[in-house]
């Protein structure tokens, strides 16, 4: 079966965020772009499943909505091991529009399952995976922290409050994944980087889709008052502050 991993191209997590045009647009000058952390974990798990001879996963495709500027991130995913990539040529706007575009392409593909990260670390919508599954009219499981494939049979583990559930599900479906799906993301090796240059990166166009939200303005958090430093010889003072000033004990 073929597994699709949706990739978000996001600012590196240590980026100092700034805004332009009267605080209405994210300023991407000097920003380092990376694969969204959860998508990287999803890709890592997809590669493990492909390498496992007991699983029927035989091809891993990454798919992104993005302009040409997203290609270094896509090449990185190919270097990690994806077999091929699809770039839907459009500026990603809101989650609804991105999910509609992904669905526009994926509805014509023979899907084993699709993996999406739980959240993107830019706009934190936690939305694309769920929206995509509804556009495709496929079952979905979210909070997925494990996927096992034995031959054609797939089971996923879903994190619930205080534990987890094991769910059996028929393909095709959409898995919305979080930590646990894999722990350490794979990093590309030299050989992978060489091979990635020759792997297919297909650029496709899709018809315009609808955008239902727009960003009006951004603000940065208020600076915090400085930390009150308590003498390590007087731990009681910390306790008193928590009890009488903060009133949290």
């Amino acid at each position: 079966m073929r597994v699709f991993v949706c990739l978000g191209n996001v600012p590196d997590t240590t980026t100092k965020v700034k805004f332009t045009e009267n605080n209405s647009v994210f300023d991407n000058t000097g920003v380092q772009w990376v694969i969204n952390p959860w998508d990287e974990l999803a890709l890592t798990r997809a590669m493990e499943l492909k390498e496992d001879s007991g699983s029927s996963v035989e091809k891993v495709t990454v798919i992104t909505v993005g302009t040409k500027s997203a290609e270094p991130t896509i090449r990185k995913a190919l270097a990690i091991g994806a077999d091929d990539a699809i770039r839907i040529n459009a500026e990603p706007t809101d989650a609804y529009d991105v999910a509609a575009k992904l669905a526009g392409v994926l509805k014509n593909e023979d899907i084993g399952f699709v993996m999406c990260g739980i959240e993107s670390c830019d706009y934190n919508g936690s939305a694309v995976g769920g929206m995509l599954s509804e556009f495709l009219n496929l079952p979905s499981v979210s909070s997925v922290s494990g996927i096992e494939v034995k031959g054609e049979k797939v089971s996923v583990s879903r994190t619930i409050d205080g534990g987890k559930e094991i769910i059996s599900i028929d393909t095709p479906f959409v898995a919305i994944v979080q930590k646990g799906i894999s722990i350490e993301p794979r990093i590309p090796a030299m050989r992978g980087i060489m091979m990635a240059r020759k792997k297919p990166l297909n650029v496709v166009e899709v018809p315009d889709t609808e955008v239902l939200t727009s960003h009006k303005s951004f603000e940065l958090p208020q600076p915090k008052p400085p930390c009150k430093i308590v003498n390590p010889e007087n731990v009681k003072e910390l306790f008193d502050l928590l009890q009488n000033e903060a009133k949290v004990l």
Binding site: K16, A95, Y96, C121, N124, G125, K179, I229
Partner: protein, 322 residues
Amino acid sequence: MAVLVFTENWDGKFKKLSFELVSYAQKVAEKLNVPVVALSIGEVAEDELKKLGDYGADKILSVTNEYLKTLDNQMYTKVISEVAQKENAKVILFSHNNTGKALAPRLSVKLKAALGSGLIDLPSVADLFTVHKKVFTGKAFVTMELNSDIKVLTLSQNSFKLISSDNNATIEEYLTDIQESDIKTKVTSTDKETGKLLLTDAEIVVSGGRGMKSPDNWGPIEELAELLGAATACSRPVSDEGWRPHEEHTGQTGKIIAPNLYIAAGISGAIQHLAGISSAKYLVAINTDPDAPIFEAADYGIVGDVHKILPELISIVKESKL
């Protein structure tokens, strides 16, 4: 017209976040001058359902279909959208937790409704319908406009206070025709610890980082947590190393929490860690390095060795008989 609120239950009981959400619904409904309809799926006793009225629900719809005992995103979405249409709901609300994140995006597509997720306060409904939320994992806020007739919103936990009401809500059963064959996700086993205080629900959290040095040193963290009625947490490398379970990992790639008090012991305060705790009301740092970035984010700090400070703090708490 109505505001529809999906109230999740845990083994037949609601939690504080359910009541926060209904309180929020009450205020949204007030702005729109419409009633609040709460929808509950699963076996919940009448006494428990009635509690939703205490926070502002006008009408409570209860669905007890036997095939909806475990969460199936597709069928839950189908039921919620049927109810939304029947009640002519203009705004549909969820908590921004695992279940809300699973259902709200699906419903948004089904109803062609704009989604505002992870909100931290009430929407503004004047000329434009705008919502306010954190973006870039807590590094900024955005005001977002939702341009559709129906809106789906998810509310961040611990960001709205409880507001009581003396509504005497009516309770009605809502019947659906969901069949066994409609359910495509089959739960084959469940492994769940009951009675344990969950990190996302805790008002106080005691958390340890790599500065704790070894998994064998977690005794004081657990003891302090026990004394304060707190949950325990940790930084990512600690869970990656297997010192602590993954459920405890807080931060950008782990849990995002909003307790009243977060005590960080031996945690440097990397930006990805802070992303998970920036909504904590008070942050305490204990760290040997006075230049550790955690002190820039903390409200109170002690420059000192966790192995000395934590046991002292424990005896002070014990003496105070909190």
